[in-house]
């Protein structure tokens, strides 16, 4: 029986996180999910939010964007558009990105459906970053 979980977080640009952890809490589309080893196999959607991984009494906090999570008994794989460790998040940059996306969403009249979706995701991800950052601070 597995006693730890292999947590992997990947984005199209990079592998953000890959470590053995004791448990992980992540933002599922239908509410927060707490995952411990030997969880039943589950495939779920992930919404933008903060993810907390526990490892031997320490916790790492990350911000993740929209994506998917696959959970088997011994690993948790998160496929997401964006992810960042809270230590690396630049609060000012996140605020600015959010403001920019909001401005574009409100002012632009030529926004396609795809772009609107992307902008909405960008705003949610910026908020998730801020939340993760403040959680730590």
């Amino acid at each position: 029986m597995a006693s730890t979980l292999k947590l992997e977080i990947v984005t199209p640009e990079a592998k953000v996180y890959s470590e053995e952890v004791d448990s992980v809490r992540l933002p599922g589309a239908e509410g927060e999910l707490g995952i411990y080893p030997n969880h039943a196999p589950l495939m779920a959607q992930v919404k933008a939010g903060e993810l907390i991984a526990h490892k031997g009494g320490e916790e790492s906090i990350l911000a993740v964007g929209h994506g998917f999570v696959e959970i088997t008994g011994d690993h948790v794989a998160i496929l997401t558009d964006n992810a960042a460790d809270s230590a690396d998040i630049d609060e000012a940059a996140a605020e600015e990105a959010k403001a920019k996306a909001q401005q574009r969403l409100e002012e632009g009249s030529d926004i396609s459906e795809d772009e609107a979706k992307a902008l909405a995701q960008a705003i949610l991800y910026s908020e998730a970053q801020l939340k993760a950052k403040r959680h730590r601070g």
């Binding site: 984005t11 640009e13 592998k15 795809d114």
Partner: protein, 294 residues
């Protein structure tokens, strides 16, 4: 026998060519570094995505997504990913030769991404359904446009299978032409070379045989599968660009080396001719002197 002046002219022209190929080599080298990095960065995501899908698809239970349904017909569409420009060695030739030998029949619909593929399709009289171009670096939206057309062809029932042919980037020296099946999603193939060696665990922990889905299988797979295809096409475009710049860099390096060798040979020949001319002149002068002296 070329005159010394002809040879001098040729040396000059070859030198110019060498200068150009040298410049192109440097440009390709810079672009190659970026394109390779982009392709390599996408691989972890592709790997995890492949593993997740192969596990989920084999354990999805009753649920079947339209993308996963195998049909009996054999009408096919082929997405052909080539470069826009030439001067990249045998890259396109290898890909197109492989494709024409094995995959294209009279009723295969060709969707070309990249101008070289489209030109070849028209020359060979293939059924060219659409032509796309993609930027450098390729944007996700460009991949989505290509995917959308392919998915439409598949969903409307015009074709029963969609394949994608591209040049997979292995390293700077090696690029492999490959054909992958895009639709229906049957077995999950990797976009990278080393994927055969990856272990894919299909047995689930805890003795469970099926995945639970949240909110439900239709919703999750309905989002995951289109996303998978978009991402895969994008990754393939990235791999193709990395291959293109690598191949061009190597081709231009070879061209520069050849030009320099040619310059060396020509210079040798020129010097020989020059020396022969001088010897000849000296000979004439001495003969004339001897004639006068008598």
């Amino acid at each position: 026998m070329p005159s010394p002046r002809d040879i001098r002219r040729r040396i000059k022209s070859v030198k110019n060519t060498a200068q150009i190929t040298k410049a192109m080599e440097k440009v390709a080298q810079a672009k190659m570094a970026k394109a390779q990095q982009a392709a390599l960065n996408g691989r972890p995501y592709a790997e995890v995505m492949n593993r997740v899908l192969s596990e989920v698809v084999t354990h999805a239970g009753e649920f079947e997504h339209p993308y996963m349904v195998q049909r009996d017909g054999d009408r096919r569409a082929l997405i052909l990913v080539t470069t826009d420009k030439g001067l990249c060695g045998a890259l396109n030739t290898n890909l197109l030769r492989m494709v024409s030998d094995e995959f294209v029949t009279d009723d295969t619909k060709i969707v070309s991404a990249g101008r070289k593929g489209a030109q070849h399709a028209i020359r060979s009289g293939w059924d060219l359904a659409a032509e796309f171009s993609f930027g450098d670096p390729p944007a996700f939206a460009e991949a989505r446009a290509i995917t959308k057309l392919a998915v439409d062809l598949f969903e409307s029932g015009e074709v029963d299978q969609v394949d994608i042919a591209f040049t997979n980037f292995v390293n700077t020296i090696t690029q492999n032409p490959e054909v992958h099946q895009l639709l229906p999603i049957a077995e999950i193939e990797g976009v990278q070379a080393g994927v055969e060696g990856e272990e894919t665990s299909t047995a689930l922990a805890g003795g469970a045989t099926e995945f639970e889905f949240e909110p439900n299988a239709g919703d999750v797979l309905g989002q995951l599968l289109p996303h998978y295809i978009n991402f895969k096409v994008h990754q393939i475009l990235l791999e193709s660009r990395a291959s293109e710049h690598s191949a061009r860099m190597v081709a231009m390096k070879n061209a520069t080396d050849n030009a320099n060798q040619l310059i060396k040979d020509l210079t040798l020949e020129y010097n020989k001719l020059r020396q022969a001319a001088i010897t000849n002149e000296l000979l004439e002068i001495t003969t004339a002197q001897m004639a006068l002296g008598n």
